[in-house]
Amino acid sequence: MSAETLALPTRRRRRGGDLANRLRPLGVIAVAVVMLLALAALLAPLIAPYDPTIGSVVQRYRAPGPEHLLGTDQSGRDLLSRLLYGARTSLMGAAVVVLLAGAGGTVLALVATWFGGRVDAFVGRVLDLLFAFPNLLLAILVVAVFGTGLAQATVALAVAYVPYTARVLRSVALRERRLAYVQAAELQGLSGVVVTTRHLLPNIAPQILTGAAINFGYAMIDLAALSYLGLGVQAPTADWGLMVSQGQDSLLQGHPQQSLLAGTCIVVAVAAFSVIGERLGGRRAGGRA
């Protein structure tokens, strides 16, 4: 790596700098968007003007106005309130997926790296088997077994994400394991648990974090897709993916607000998380070069 950097003129590095500068304001916007969405999710019960699950049919398809800022849906429910509450299921669900998959992947990666040999080979085989299933298919199968619902869909996606997380972290941990400080700790007679949790884990933490930020966007999309397919969050709970699906009939009748608003929320949130993930990953790569 260093030889390559020496041999090349500074052109490559400068272009990287240009690009980073061009996209810098985007990072600030992304963080602001995520904070705003988190606030909306947290404060939904306080700031939502109406109950998200109760509406009256006489109020259906109201245009945006002072009474309903974003209008109402096919059941006369306030769309703004449903979007605010929808932020809760959409963000919380994705957060749980990322947390579970991150924890599972980290444990598998550390166990495989520490014991090596047969254990590593076995973990590798299990991961290969899971890789044989397309992500979404694995999630759909888990839902088929455990039933529909937010909790089931969340676990389903976490299972589907573990192989990717584990594979990336295993390669990082393996590189770290070969370094002198790990061997020094090992020679001092520290137990495997201590070395992995106190020494290895903190040193692969940046990669765990980057992976989580990147996975968050995918998790939001996949979770929304499951809800859209009727396999995730169930009516009448407010959820962005479910709202896109419920709004589809209204859209064909000329009332596109619900689908468009909910879908836009998903796009904005996912874009924000992917910008943050890229930024974290880029900084890491830049730091290492």
Partner: protein
């Protein structure tokens, strides 16, 4: 090459065998009994229940039932739908054309638009480059089902250019029906491909061999084609392959959105109705296709880059 193929096909067969067991075991472990779906909530006498259990072999031990199912699958008998009593194999065959057309159409769109946008952005730079970068960031964030709803809203409802639902019959009509679904399916993948292609092209453009070629007076057009794009295609092949393989499952969402009669829609309906006979058969077929597509991509990779040795241990 042939040794590589035999080894990989063997590995695929082994994976499918273990997968078939996992899928069957998972469906077996799912709460609820098959006969309760068969009687659909009607109250039936114990004798009828017993005869149903006997007819479907539900009293056999688990391993025996798996064995019977596996032998059937190997002989092309995928079982019988619990809800419609239809033969799953023929049900599946009738659904395959739609999914095949849809995924092929989407794959072509991904390759053509993703790679073209990435190459143009990488070679030209400037405002166009920034535009492609931003568009790919947004495109990646658009879930396929939302792309489907958006396209439907604009091109079917407002403009009336395309039909809203159905798969159509005959080639021109089918293409017309599948255009919006294929575009919806291709959007996020094309965005990722464009992004990766751009990075690869920029990296090659800054490589020393390009400066050398230009210094020797090789025209820019030739350098761009032979030195930059051709070398940049290696990482692109991988990412295109990954994204096309993912269409196998991703098609389900778009088929559901446009009510197309594809394999994915069959799977979703079967899951919703808890028709496990159909779920396990479709899942196994999808895993097989997914494995085959990945195998083809690996072979293609070696064809494009002679330096890649297929004999080595693949990760």
């Amino acid at each position: 090459m042939s040794r590589f193929l035999t080894r990989r096909l063997g590995a695929l067969a082994a994976t499918l065998l273990v997968s078939s067991f996992l899928i069957y075991a998972a469906m077996y472990a799912a709460p609820g009994t098959p006969e309760s779906f068969l009687v659909q909530g009607r109250t039936v006498s114990a004798e009828v229940l017993a005869s149903i259990r006997a007819q479907y072999g539900l009293d056999d031990p688990f391993l025996l039932r798996y064995w019977h199912w596996l032998i059937g699958v190997l002989g092309g008998d995928l079982g019988e739908s619990l809800t419609t009593r239809q033969d799953v194999a023929s049900l599946l065959m009738s659904r395959i054309p739609t999914t095949l057309w849809l995924t092929t159409y989407a794959a072509v769109l991904i390759v053509v638009f993703g790679v073209a946008a990435g190459v143009a952005a990488g070679l030209r730079g400037g405002v166009f480059d920034t535009g492609v970068l931003l568009a790919s960031s947004v495109g990646f964030a658009i879930p396929t089902f939302f792309a489907a709803v958006l396209l439907m809203s604009v091109f079917s409802v407002t403009l009336g250019w395309f039909p809203v639902f159905g798969s159509g019959s005959g080639l021109p009509d089918r293409m017309l029906h599948l255009t919006l679904p294929a575009v919806a399916l291709a959007v996020p993948a094309a965005a990722v491909v464009a992004r990766i292609t751009r990075t690869a092209v920029v990296e090659e453009r800054d490589a020393e061999h390009v400066s050398v070629a230009l210094a020797r007076g090789v025209p820019w057009r030739v350098v761009a084609r032979r030195h930059i794009v051709r070398n940049a295609m290696l990482p692109v092949t991988t990412i295109v392959g990954v994204n096309i393989a993912a269409l196998v499952a991703g098609a389900a969402v778009v088929e559901h959105a446009f009510t197309l009669d594809g394999v994915g829609a069959l799977l979703i309906n079967a899951v919703q109705q808890k028709d496990f006979a159909v779920v396990q058969a479709v899942a196994l077929v999808l895993v097989a296709v997914f494995g085959l597509v990945n195998l083809v991509v690996d072979v293609l990779y070696a064809v494009i880059d002679p330096r890649v040795q297929l004999g080595g241990e693949s990760a």
